[in-house]
Amino acid sequence: METVTLTIDGRQVTVAKGRTLLQAAIEAGISVPYYCYHPGISIDGSCRVCIVKIEKMPKLQTSCSTVCADGMVVHTRDAEVIAARAGVFEFLLVNHPLDCPVCDKGGECPLQDFSYTFGPAESRMDFPRRVFDGEGVKGDVDFGPTLMLNRQRCILCTRCVRFMKEVEGDAQIGIVDRGYGSEIATFEERGVHSLLSGNLMDICPVGAILTRDYRFKSRPWDNPGVVDTMCTLCSKGCSTSAWLKARPEWAKGTQLIRMTPRFNPEVNNYWMCDIGRFTYHWVEGDTRLRRPMVRRGSALEPAAWHDVEPPLRGRLQEAGSTDPSSVRFLVSAHASTEELFVLKQLVRGLLGSDGLSAVTIAWTRSNKPQSAAAKFKVPATDAPNVNGARDLGYRVGPGTDGLPDLLPLRDAVEAGRVKAVYVLDPGPDGSLGDVSWLGPARRSGALGLLVVQGVVMNELAAAADFVLPGATYVEKDAIYTNDQGRVQAASRAIGLPGEAREDWDILASLARSLGLAMPYESSHDVRRALAASMPGTAYAQADTLVFTRPVPARNWLQASNPSERWKWDFLYQDLPPVKGYSVQTEGMPPEAVFIPLKPVGVRS
């Protein structure tokens, strides 16, 4: 790799050829503020806050658009730079409303952070601000089905414009009018209609674009923890962060409050889709299963686990007594690899080596309308682990390229050749596809026993004889294999509701009660056994995958800056988010730091 070496603030910095000064400074851990620069989109050079002094150049330069050259000598903390930068910050705030206390971005806002750190200490604005759309909150307008736009707060960095053009591939956002009147707008105010719209909230460096889903729901200081995990709502498997809001004191615990993407260059870059971002309400929704249930007569009644297991074992044994292969399993591809591994041992133990043929893996596909030029494509398959099932030896037919074939199972059930069906589905409602035939088959008596190990109460669970509450993707440590074949870890973010148990655990204790050996005490034990059983594959390291826990962040800013979190995590570790303190001026005499404010006009 060709490199160039330059000097930034007296430090020798070597970077790859073609990098810009701003990137070099970030790599070297030297803090330079920026708004319009975003590593995931093209360079614009419109906000001017990244200015630095380069020796032998007559004027200050924007570091985001200046390519590093050998021998450049750059100053980011020169008194001239500090003063000019403060001037830029002052201009950015000329029309910015003093909204922070009611702005959702407040507390995790790069405009706040950088203005505190690099801007002038006091305001000279004693004239009316420019307002769009009338006075006050009327600045908030609808910006499509998922977003709100507040033009007052916009600093016209054009990140959103470039995102729509480059990543979404459909330039729906533009800047209308010019100069002082410029505003962010969509054609005919139709708003943003895109499967990637939520990312605009992340990239907007101020509170101008906000998601309706998160609006007014939480403040950064209410979110004590964030867990690095992954999305399992399709076969892409984006890296995400799950944000936890503290419940009120009387309720204790935490609650899932939003999902944001986490930088992963191999899978999702800086982005995620709206499906993954907004489809989490069901996890803590009213339809969640919290207690095991047993059918008594026509009703399902809650029961304790220890009252459920003996009759369940008895009924399963009875169903399989004449022909073990008349017990079938219908498993959603939302099941994690651990669960599939335990299930494999279970069916092999009961049915012998061709036991896997008793298992039908199910998933759904849906059409995700995206522009042809979109760089971030959302795959059609709505389940995270079709490839995991395939790698474990289950039959998955066309895999992620097509739909599973449930017909043989359906025919067998409806012809009365199946005595019992055991359903395992830790995914959202509907992730098995069309199983509307299964409940009626049980009710009509064609099927003798229906066990549902799932997470939501739905039509299928309502027809079951036994309902076993399992865990969703944010409630367990589990691994999934995405459509690229990457084995990825999803971490537990929140606790299990009620008496629900992790799915591998439910399967393992069922296997134990049927007389099989299941020497596992945690999902980690399962991964270890899985790794040992598949040497030489991607799963051989399954037990070394890292799962994170909600870590109370070192400070509130680090915990709660979704758009810039990657920055605090990877890049800006030297920039303390402490108001009133600046590394920029550390060790400098006060007079060098002081930015004199000139009075504007003469006032009495």
Partner: protein, 210 residues
């Protein structure tokens, strides 16, 4: 249109923007001659820079009815191969594109520094008084539209007023009244000042008349 979760206040138009929108307009398509002109013009640019033809396409579209409707912008977007939002960007940026009907004579008064120093504001005041309209408005009989614009690039002859495509220079409040009367009486031909004028054959040439 695409997947979106049900939102609490999605069905209600929660807050409607007050931004003035371009008129929807009826169906719009280039006339065959304009289409031919456009196709000819677009050949000047490499295929990946088709967007460069956007100004030309907008002029053709505006030529039809004197201003651009949303339908016209959509048609231009389709011709260029970009989105309507990008077309609106361009339309709203330039003062020479209009999104509502304008008068026969569009009077652009320069208000930038050189002209301002030489009394452009007083010229505007005179025009306001004479025509009875504020900048941005069109008079009742659809004859004049008055707008204030930024530098017209003829600072040496400040203050400058551009009427449609012609420059008129060294205007003073005193001359403004006469100027309007002349235009009313004799149209563009009566205008005075040293200015670039479009000749009939479409070539530009510098003519000086006094």
């Amino acid at each position: 249109m695409s997947f979106h979760p049900p939102m609490e206040y999605a069905p209600a138009r929660f807050h409607k923007s007050a931004r003035p929108l371009p008129e929807a307009g009826g169906e719009f398509a280039f006339t065959p001659e304009n289409q031919a002109k456009f196709d000819e013009n677009v050949k000047r640019y490499p295929p990946d820079q088709r967007k460069s033809a956007i100004l030309y396409a907008l002029y053709l579209a505006q030529g039809r009815q004197g201003y651009l409707t949303a339908a016209a912008m959509r048609h231009v977007a389709q011709q260029i191969g970009c989105t309507a939002a990008e077309v609106e960007d361009v339309v709203s940026y330039y003062t020479m594109f209009f999104t509502k009907p304008v008068g026969k004579y569009v009077i652009n008064v320069c208000r930038t520094l050189s002209c301002a120093l030489r009394g452009a504001e007083r010229v505007t005041e005179e025009l306001r008084a004479k025509l009875g309209i504020a900048p941005g408005e069109t008079d009742a009989d659809g004859m004049f539209t008055l707008i204030e614009v930024e530098c017209l690039g003829a600072c040496d002859c400040a203050p400058v007023v551009m009427v449609n495509d012609d420059w008129h220079e060294h205007l003073t409040p005193e001359r403004v009244s006469q100027f309007i009367d002349d235009v009313r009486a004799r149209g563009r031909a009566a205008l005075t000042g040293c200015h670039l004028r479009k000749e009939k054959n479409g070539h530009e040439q510098l003519t000086v008349d006094s």
